[in-house]
Assembly symmetry: C2
Homo-oligomer: 444 residues x 2
């Protein structure tokens, strides 16, 4: 078995019951376990035994009463849950989503450094800007700021956080018990940041963490998002529907990184994939159809309307998706949905089912071979450096992927059979952070 | 062995190396373990095996370069560390310090609800307002707001958090998979809070947690602090030097709670105690003196100056403490230190050593019997409902307390030998939170 140089990276996108919007209604789902730690410990330990690079938790900062009715919650806060999972895992990376719109950089830098310490170097931060008025209304505002302004704030937020992570030099700790000197104060720096959004003196109140900085992850695919990713991200989560689109996006991210003076290998592109696995393609399609049967059109329409920022309840379900208005919310997702409906000539009702399994991520129902073939094709044709695995039904879907798909990828030499490092940075083949990379005035 | 109705409550005040300011210089201290999870797991599991009510972590939001030189750090962020410890303990309560000055109530309510879920009802929140300019300077300000204003904000913060915890009714979750109804939306409430400091729509993005709300803890002993504790706190940490002072404080808290219409039992008063344990009193004093030998006068003076908000380096070390100016920082601590120096007629040098072991908390070097006698005396004479145990040297001091003092307390029927409940609320003998208690306009 030949081991090619380049292997793919796999992240498990954790959710309570699964990524299919009706997963919680499936008879196999134990709804009560959604808020129980034991449920997530099992999933994390399975993913670690299978040698996944990392676990990831998304987040949003609001839930509506109608969303709650149909099973939507924010659920357990990502850093809380991943901190707990750090105590019962040893190797797998832990990527938490935290918004730059509703937090202070000092607190966020401190929490990620803390997670990186307690996990011995496994922390990652999925940087989001948050895009809905419903979220802004939980944080002293009526409306979310404009897309451009949110990213401007995110840039400065990251600048401050990075300065704080670097505020304790790599060799600042002396720990001389006899002399009573813990740190070389010349290597502990105040940062004196003064910007448009934040003023932060520093230093950070915790020494530099095992990875130097957490691995920076990004998931917005708008023009602002791609620019942000090119400048800062070390891994990018993205929703792509076709090989061609994924290739275009992949190329764009790598080019953008190069424009910022970074090597294309310093940012890994991981499209989401929502697999449904069967012994035959027919069995897989049957499983998928069964999950679709649990969907509720009213809820699906509510979700889609929220996602595209337009009320779609007035349009006929069996008619086409109308032209969507420009939005200041999640721009890239709206564009993807519009293109999908147009390309496949879908009615609204058909579109709801196309989105039910993965909210716009690539869904595939097939045999382990078919799925492995697809992953290999994307990986070998510059569409992906790896994948964000999103089981539609969390427990069973993850088990199937690990049992039937992973061994095929390993046989083909595409995925590790053992961890070769101990930190997330090592799993992803990333270098120690270059303390020169973050600079507010950097222009590509 | 008779079991009296009332038993004392014991909290372990966690630190890296110990509460003595020179603990890290002791040859037995493994400095490297200060940021390692394994170190805290060991301590937490020991405290749980000994049936402590809870673990507690303090916090501050800044460190200076000079502080870093002498071993001061914020260390691992409390909620991060306690979330990790939730995964490897089953019964012990987990009390994290979070400031109301540098956080958003939506985030804090969410994080405590999350910790309460993953720990099956063991979360507690030590509410602090933070009192130094150095902290404010990490959060976009030059100076910390006035004492009164900080407490005003803290009150509104707690009001918002409590409304958010109550925003999912106890019976809101239906989880009807067949009908596809997860929650009864009539029992999920928007809170529409609009105040002087915060505007928050709600509901919280996580269902109500096992304890309803985390146990609320408070540690300020100023007039504002006592008022705040009387209104909200379910446990109070406090520094008291003598039985008489402790009795006065105990009475004040209970009276203040009654003035807010609360029962005196609904708030537990837990003075800090820093024990050094020897087979003989002489051995204990010898151990204490050994720790004192590791102190550094320059650092001790720096610490004391910070604590009282006045530069003391200009005063003769062997002269008396000067009259301290009024401060807008930690008022109650300054008062305690001034009174201690005056009562015991201490020079500044002597005062530094009196404070080295516990920063103003009650320090006692003695035999297990002597220490048990003191605890029993305070407990039976309305000075304490229990204690905040602060080992001067973390590992050895905790081991000694568990091995030699706890069995005496248990023989006397003063402390549990088994947990009788599973939640922190049950350990402390507290009721399910009364959703009527939090009201911004409440006036005692």
């Amino acid at each position: 078995m030949s081991q090619p140089e380049r292997q793919l990276h796999l992240n498990l996108f954790l959710t309570g019951m699964g990524h299919h919007e009706a997963a919680w209604r499936h008879p196999q789902s134990d709804i009560g376990s959604n808020l129980k730690l034991s449920h997530y410990v099992k999933l994390a330990q399975k993913a670690e035994a299978a040698k996944f690079d990392s676990l990831f938790l998304a987040d949003r900062y609001a839930v509506s009463r109608q969303g709650a009715k149909y099973g939507l919650q924010g659920g357990i806060e990502p850093l809380t849950l991943l901190s707990a999972l750090a105590a019962v895992t040893e190797n797998i990376g832990l990527i938490a989503t935290v918004s730059t719109s509703f937090n202070e950089p000092y607190n966020v830098a401190r929490r990620f450094a803390s997670l990186d310490h307690i996990s011995n170097g496994r922390a990652g931060w999925n940087v989001i800007t948050s895009g809905t008025d419903g979220e802004a209304q939980n944080f002293n505002s009526k409306k979310i700021p404009s897309h451009g302004l949110r990213y401007e704030k995110a840039r400065e937020f990251l600048e401050v956080a990075s300065k704080l992570w670097d505020s304790w030099g790599d060799d600042a700790i002396i720990a001389d018990q006899e002399a009573g000197i813990f740190a070389d104060e010349r290597k502990v720096h105040e940062i004196h940041h003064r910007g448009n959004f934040f003023s932060v003196k520093g230093p950070l109140n915790i020494p530099r963490s095992p990875q130097g900085r957490p691995v920076l992850v990004q998931a917005g695919s708008s023009a602002d998002g791609i620019d942000f990713a090119g400048q800062y991200a070390e891994a990018v989560f993205t929703a792509q529907q076709t090989l061609e689109e994924a290739q275009r996006f992949y190329q764009e991210i790598k080019t953008r990184a190069a424009a910022f003076g970074r090597s294309p290998e310093s940012v890994k592109v991981l499209p989401g994939i929502c697999p449904v696995i069967g012994r035959t393609e027919a069995e897989a399609k049957e499983k998928e159809a069964q999950l679709h049967d649990y969907t509720n059109t009213e809820f699906s329409l509510y979700q889609l309307s929220n996602r595209v920022g337009a009320d779609l309840t007035a349009y006929p379900l069996d008619g086409p998706l109308p032209q969507l208005p420009a939005t200041d919310g999640h721009q890239s997702r709206t564009k993807l949905i519009q293109e999908l409906a147009f390309r496949e000539n879908l009615t609204i009702r058909q579109l709801l089912l196309r989105l039910a399994g993965g909210r716009g991520h690539y869904t595939i129902a097939g045999t382990p071979e078919q799925i492995s073939d697809q992953l290999e094709k994307w990986f070998k044709n510059k569409a992906a450096d790896g994948f964000n695995i999103m089981p539609q039904l969390m427990s069973e879907g993850l088990d199937d992927f690990i049992t039937y798909v992973l061994p095929l990828l390993q046989e083909r030499g595409l995925f590790r059979t053992e961890y070769s490092g101990t930190t997330l940075r090592e799993h992803l083949g990333l270098k120690w952070p270059d303390t020169g990379t973050v600079n507010l005035s950097a222009q590509a």
